[in-house]
């Protein structure tokens, strides 16, 4: 068997139809002017030109999922007696994510550490993840706001992908990255990709340098704990934040969830749904107390989680894949990369000037007051 494959441009839809035969294929599709990951079928319009508005995380980590359903059964003789039947949801369909971007695929690795590589793996995430093959399309150009190269990724980064796809003039070069990914080469309508390999590898390197690196000086983000813990810093840099959840819900690495029970008469379900640290309700306690009552504290948590807490816990891995969606789609263009770049210094002059122009101690004391 060949090591790589190739699909002619005009045969892509047929190829996806073949893939759809024994798995649900999620692909970026055009709806209006919006590109979203959704189950591919004959009625959908594929769009591989730009990253989808939403990442494909919903395939493995759905916006909401039933963990289990429960049913109360009354004793026919004695209404005082009632039993409850639980039925766990373990039925995860085979799925293929086609056309994820390298950042999207890398995002799943952030999830894996939390949900799989632990003593208590999450059966729902794990179940779906194992049944999902991720076929990633290399980026040929950066999109507004993205900065994957600054967080250890790149336009042809392979981490998290099972298959890497490179778009060429005539079609798509397909190379398996993992054992799971090799299965793609057995799909009908794929031809041997060997003759395209060289062109593809050249193409993969081309766009790397076009991607901006907001942390260029250090090559990777550096966080000053002193500045990070300064409330005024957050109040200054995120006063425009609207505290909505677009950033977290579009983030390929945000994995927080909420659990709620819904019941109608005898039947109910326990539901897990996305939640985000930008919402006030996220940390609202039963007593009514909220340890993160302001958007500043919440935003601090979001940055902290991605660039401090997660790396501390998981071998220095940054929980941001640089996809730029949170910047691109933020209604007020809050730029996390900019904020992180400010954080490198021990102090911050509250003028939004580039970090070089940091002032003296006395100055910053004054501004704090």
């Amino acid at each position: 068997m060949a090591d790589t494959g190739f699909v002619q441009k005009e045969k892509l839809n047929d190829f996806l139809n073949e893939l759809s035969k024994d798995a649900v294929v999620y692909a970026p599709c055009l709806e209006g002017d919006t590109v979203i990951f959704k189950a591919f079928d004959s009625g959908t319009t594929l769009c591989l030109d730009r990253p989808a508005n939403n990442p494909p995380k919903l395939v493995v980590f759905p916006q909401s999922e039933t963990l289990f359903s429960f049913k109360y059964k009354k004793d026919a003789e004695d209404p005082r007696k009632m039993s409850v039947e639980l039925e766990a949801n373990t039925d995860f369909p085979r799925a293929i994510i086609f056309g994820a971007r390298p950042c999207d695929a890398k995002g799943f690795r952030i999830y894996d550490s939390v949900y799989i590589d632990t003593n208590t793996p999450d059966p729902y995430y794990k179940g779906r993840r194992e049944k999902t093959m991720i076929a990633t399309l290399c980026c040929s150009a950066p999109s507004p706001g993205c900065f994957c190269v600054a967080v250890g990724g790149g336009p042809a980064h392979r981490e998290g992908s099972d298959v890497l796809i490179t778009q060429l003039e005539k079609g798509y070069f397909i190379e398996p990255v993992t054992e799971k990914g090799r299965a793609i080469l057995n799909v009908p309508r794929i031809e041997d990709g060997e003759q395209y390999a060289e062109e593809a590898h050249k193409r993969q390197l081309e766009s790397h340098d076009l991607v901006r690196n907001p942390f260029a000086e250090d090559g990777q983000p550096k966080i000053s704990r002193a500045l990070f813990d300064l409330d005024e810093f957050w109040e200054h840099v995120v006063s425009k934040c609207l505290s909505c959840g677009a950033c977290t819900y579009l983030c390929p690495t945000c994995y927080c969830f909420n659990i709620t029970d819904e019941q109608a008469l005898n039947n109910g379900e326990r539901i897990r749904s996305w939640d985000g640290c930008m919402f006030s309700h996220f940390t609202l306690e039963g007593s009514g107390h909220n340890p993160r009552p302001t958007k500043f504290k919440r935003f601090k948590n979001r940055v902290g989680h991605k660039f401090l807490y997660y790396p501390e816990k998981y071998n220095g891995v940054i929980a941001c894949c640089g996809c730029g969606r949170c910047i691109r789609h933020c209604p007020v263009s809050v730029d996390i990369s900019e904020i992180v770049s400010y954080l490198r210094g021990p102090r911050f002059e509250f003028t939004n000037e580039p970090p070089e122009s940091m002032g003296t101690d006395t100055n910053s004391q004054e501004q704090k007051q």
């Binding site: 819904e262 008469l265 039947n267 109910g268």
Partner: protein, 143 residues
Amino acid sequence: MSDVAARELRIVGFLCNWCSYGGADTAGVSRFKQPTDLRIIRVPCSGRVDPLFIVKALLNGADGVLVSGCHPRDCHYTDGNFYARRRLEMLKRLLPFLGIDERRFHYTWISASEGGKWQQTVTDFTKRVHELGPLHAKKEATP
């Protein structure tokens, strides 16, 4: 029961306690026969009926919603039905914009003494909803 379910549609009624619920009682006392599809929710005043209840009902399985309060000027709470009138009219005009036939929603004013009008309203509205048929052809099996 399935046989019953097949014959009936789901109609939710919000009735103010003082007039329309009394009107429905009067119709009952007078033995004015009515179709059985309607399920009545008693509220203190038609002004209590947030249009969202109607939307919620229509989105979640109801085929028709009926709201009835005291006649304008005869609200037990003086002004409640005046607010209701504006809100319900707003909703009535919005529903077709969403693609929901506005005929599935009716609001009216029936006093405690108008048992006959209540009977007529229930009969006519139920007939109309049946003519329109079920709103939810395929019900989402969500508990």
